[in-house]
Amino acid sequence: MNPAIGYAAVAGVSAVTALIGFYGLRVSRTTSDFYVASRTVAPWWNASAIGGEYLSAASFLGIAGLIMVSGIDGLWFPLGYTAGYLMLLLFVAAPLRRSGAYTLPDFAQSRLQSRRVRNVTSALVVVVGWFYIVPQLHGAALTIRITTGLPSWVGAVAVVAVVCLTVMTGGMRSITFVQAFQYWLKLTAIAVPVIFVLLVLTAGARPVSDGGAAFSTTLNTVAPAGLYRNLSLMTALLFGTLGLPHVLVRFYTNPDGGAARRTTLIVLGLLSVFYLFPTIYAVLGRIYLPELATNGQADATVLLLPGRLIGGAAGNVLSALVIAGAFAAFLSTTSGLVVSLAGVVSQDLFGGTVRGFRIAAVLSALIPLAVALGTGSLALAGSVSLVFAFTASTLCPLLVLGIWWRGLTDIGAIAGMLTGGILCAAAILAGSRLASSAPASSPLAASTLASTQNPAGFWYQVLAQPAAWTVPVAFVVMIAVSLATKNRRPGGITRIMTRLHAPERPLGQATVPAVE
């Protein structure tokens, strides 16, 4: 691939993002107070912004890569990523908005009236954020290497540099407009090239699914996933979305609880549309780029497919578009995470000053950079799903029980979160130790581990995808310890629950003037 296309696309998307951030910021300053303005953000804008922040490297590149290597088993990932928002809608969206909390630690403290719960939650949020940024940087490294031929570390460093710069100068604050733009950019960048490819293929009477051969399991390069893996994966993805720090921040900008629900409903629609396209890329890739699945570069399918199937200038333009979309994915998710992490870290460690926020932002970006440079890239969608397993085992029980059960106590919450977190992290570490101890060169060993038919493979699956048992354990511990420490229930619980669940006053009585 011509390196100039890669440079142009990356530079272009960075410049456009910075420009919109700059002008978006000026517009938002001339309206009125930031909080008032943010309370009047319409659900459509808000939903686009959530979609823009959520669709990460795993969605843009990773899902197509997984379907390339594992066929139909890979389809569970986009379903889980989308349906996670259904769970968010059912159990969290409106009450979280009504709590008025800007971050998860805020919510924990105001619900349980305990500084200690706040600290534990803050620590978990930071860990989750760091490990969510790492796959983004891996994705950037891959994209830069494939498209420009530069060494991998350049991509990761470039993303961190752009994000630090924009976050620190304030050009990329949580302005709804920037992130909303990112969703539509990503949708365009993934949809337009593949639609062109499909048109060209049908016009040239070339095969699209090769008479169904694209769906055959013989093209899979990994062993089929067992029932346990799919169950555990769905548990992680469905309940992990509830606790993602950069997503939760956005719910605060809804006008009220009802709008938070409508926003989530629209997010579901936006994600459903987006996730149709990686599957199409993967199906085409299984026919036209099968070598990517065997040489471990399946995550590059989306980047390479348009250029491979459409030659000439049109192919270059479409390639530039997908590269721009991928880069937008790394930038928006990383900056969303860095902003939300910096908010948490600066409040808890640096007293909430602007200077503290900047130091925290740099810290939040540099530590994952070090981890990303020190570790090899796993399959993108796979490593993100481990982060979901971790949030599902820690922050999800805190949110669900905190919102729906008045019996939750601070000690119970801490015990549940620590148990879930430690079990989940230990299982993932043990699983990867087990995988690396098996001779990696022989495909037989890999398929033994992936199959649940024999005991070694079963235990590997139980450790590598722990959500199916760590989530219930975390819930049980949280409930049991709360029951044992009944005397620590916060006072004024009825008032807190009323605030979480009672609908806001009808719109006519609102004292906030509507903008626009």
């Binding site: 300053r29 809608l89 409508r262 009323t498 806001e504």
Partner: protein, 127 residues
């Protein structure tokens, strides 16, 4: 937006330090009563219970559907031989067909949850 073109003074926006901010404006009497009396507690408890029941029913329905899909795929491999335009049925269901169902569940929930809240408003005497 202001039309006169003059730029207002820069306002520094910071997150609330610790505790969450309440929504601005005075709290109406009906809400005060609802929060602080025994009757109000009964009302809010019943609202929470009906919202939770609704959420659990929708979640259980959706999870059963997904689990059913997973089981069917695992137990009935012959489903793969049913194809529409060369695409096997399981691919169609998991790759596209299940998304509208997710949206439908979400839409039903949003409607019913709003209805529960309207009922609560009637109970505490808000318009």
């Amino acid at each position: 937006m202001n039309d006169d073109g003059e730029t207002p003074a820069r306002v520094r926006v910071v997150a609330p330090r610790n505790l969450a901010q309440r929504s601005p404006g005075p709290i109406p009497v009906a809400r005060e009563v609802a929060e602080q009396t025994d009757v109000g507690e009964v009302f809010i408890t019943s609202l929470i219970r009906s919202q939770l029941r609704l959420a659990v029913v929708v979640a259980a329905g959706f999870l059963l559907l997904v689990a059913g899909c997973g089981l069917l795929l695992a137990l009935a491999p012959q489903l793969h031989s049913i194809t529409v335009l060369t695409v096997p049925l399981p691919w169609l269901v998991l790759g596209a067909g299940i998304y509208p169902v997710t949206g439908l569940c979400a839409w039903l929930f949003v409607r019913s949850a709003a209805r529960n809240e309207a009922r609560y408003r009637d109970l505490i005497g808000e318009k």
